[in-house]
Amino acid sequence: MSAEQESPNLHWSGQAVDVQAIDAVLERLREKAADAAPAEGAALGTRTSVLTLVAYALDAPAAQRASETIAALPEYHPSRSIVVLAQPSDSEPAIDARLSAHCHIAPGLEGQVCFEEVELTVMGRAARHLHSVVLPLLVPDLPVYSWWSGDLPGDLHLLSDVLDASDRFIVDSTRFSDARLGLPCLASLAQHTATAVSDLSWARLTPWRRLIAQFFDSPSLQPYLESLTTVDIEHAAGSAAQSLLLTGWLAARLGCQPEGAENQVYRLRSAGGTVLVSLRARPSPDEPGSIVAVRLVASRDGSEATFSVRRSEPQLATVTAQAPEASLEHTVRLPGAGEPEMLAEELETPGRDPSYEEALAMAAALLDA
């Protein structure tokens, strides 16, 4: 019995709706969904909530994509998700809503997983006051994760509305139309808001950061970290955001200062000397902007060591280290880095991420140097 076949999806839609009525409709849908679920041996009708996810979009295709991503979230579902399509204008306020409730038995797990989706189109002047629409719909007293899926909005009032209603503000800097402009804006935003700012592109770097860090767990190889000379980062063409964040991370963790840049080669000053970091975009079948390979070269007491991680297949990487003390080569799995997986990872993470904020600030400083 697949969960898909069995999941009862109950829908309701209305035009020019009253926000206050939405909660009551959701309650009704939830009861129906729980009743209709295949619940042999499972608890019925109970709801345990963890968070609310609010996705914002400024055009219909973006809203549609956000809905699809939320529907594809693996394993981890927000208790309630709200997709807001904002269409601000000077005309009269109007809100259209589509609501649905789902309960299904997740494969391999006991009990039902229930969640609700609200899709709102907020038009006219109301779109300039989104908080008045979103606040009444949040699950009481649980964290609110807001997801902004494209370039940051130019409308600062709108942005501050969104931030005020969020505990965590999620963007994907790989989707910025120009990372070199977008990252400094985001860095400045992160510095000035009390809301935790996070980035799906940063989540995509987690396995890379982990694999690079792992080389230097070995006490005999760790000293090479202080004598890096060059770092080469290759990424799939389309966006430099991930490469820049990875460079920012290395620089921040190693206490380097940016000195200047020329033709995608960034010069960093470290305690051990100068490190040259070059970023190279190349055509690749992988997701635009995703990291393809990272190679670190260090030189110490006249001997050279190289450490590299290279994507060999979409989900596999070859890890190699060549040093006088040791050499190793093995293959590791790169977890899927699609939008739903990355969003799910962000939803599991509460609070601010100082490492990200430092890497972001450093990336902005690199672009400024």
Binding site: A43, T46, T48, S49, V50, E75, Y76, H77, A106, G108, L109, E110, G111, Q112, V113, C114, T206, P207, R209, R210, L211, I212, A213, Q214, F215, F216, D217, S218, P219, S220, L221, Q222, L225, L250, R253, L254, G255, E313, Q315, L316, V319, E325, A326, L328, H330, T331, V332, R333, T349, D353, P354, S355, Y356, E358
Partner: protein
Amino acid sequence: MPMEATTVVNPLREGLRLERTPEPCTMVIFGASGDLTRRKLLPALYNLSLDGLLPGSFAVVGFARSEMTDEQFRQQAREAVLQFSRRPVDPGLWDSFARGLFYASAGSLNLEDFQRLAELVARLDRERNTGGNRVFYLSVPPSAYSDIVQQLGTSGLAAQGVDGSGWARIIIEKPFGRDLETARALNHEVAQVFPEEQVYRIDHFLGKETVQNILVFRFANGIFEPIWNRRYIDHVQITAAESLGVEGRAGYYEEAGALRDMVQNHMLQVLSLVAMEPPIAFEARAVRDEKVKVLRAIRPLRGEDVARNTARGQYGPGWVNGREVPGYRQEPNVDPASTAETYAALKLYVDNWRWAEVPFYLRTGKRLPKQTTEVAIHFKRAPLLLFRDMADPASLESNVLAIRIQPNEGITLKFHAKVPGISVRIRSVNMDFLYGASFAVQPPTAYETLLLDCLEGDSTLFARRDEIEAAWSLVTGVLDGWRELPPPAFPNYEAGSWGPQEAQKLMAGDGRRWRRP
């Protein structure tokens, strides 16, 4: 789980989320061709590797009596993972994982065999950069523990690296001794070779998510701890019920029985987590200090106390899950006149300030109606029965908070509510919290959690020497008491029932009854 400070600080590690990658090391598995290795250890290691949680430099050495090449061991490992892993084999990754698997024949377990093992491990240190760190996993029958530990000492394998950089840890499976005396002797032998902080006595119960969650539930919430004491709690019931019989383990079970098999380790560990005082920190020493205090505070059962406060049983033929099953004495390899208990119930008191005169009822058995493990906290009744005229007094039971450990991990609170209507009618309702419904995530297996903890040097979820001895001290008293009593009239419960009458009487005598889980 918390990590103890490692000697090397890698600046790139800072801020990595969900990160617990341990130091490079080699793991030697004794009993590498055994059932536990196949079913649990190799699948757990493979899943840790899938998640990138094993160290970059890592090797596994299988060590067992049979002759095998590295290649054969790798093939055997692949079959084990195919059959028992919670996630499928990733062909692109398997070769890299398998290249880290090696095999050495244990021969007759003499010094020469261990010296060959030492040479292999030293070679792996060089070739795979495993840094002189070792974990020895004893997945062998307890009769072999002593020899292996001694040889690890004599062969120098258990010694730290010359420059003091490497470490050597040992993981020991249950049963850890068969009574207080043998447990003490084994502890003594192990201590001759390994310092206590490098000894990891594994109890897979403690690796279960829900067992760990007892600590989170109690100490991360402010609302439960104030009522977690004798003023508000009437009694506690801990149940570990199995619907299975002995399933091919008759040889072991005939010697052990339910008390040794379940109570001495799993159930007393759960009891200590439920009853312990808040530790001063969530780390190995503080948590285990508090757990052992509970075990020491349990009122010993001696002589006549044993008959009054315990019940034992053995199943006869019956029906379980719609299937007819034989009685224990009819199982293969069981003595037809066996007196091994397949059911044990105990009434215990934790004699400390918090729990004085609150009984803890423990029961465990095989061939019970269903497979379930839970802790049920029964609260005292409301002081004044305001509504006695509006409800059947029997239905005004006390509130119960049940923590289900397996299956359907979750927490249920039973309380009273008014049935909607003009008159006041009262019913008990259950409010259920299911982990699966809130966090739809497949948790790691207990062995994944515990192996990783050990690789990281975190012994919070492993039993310490004093805990083992305190638990055996209690259990040995009961075993001695039982020996002095006339032989029990076994079988005394039907397979598929909730245990013998004696156990019901144990409760009824106190005006209470066992909860139906």
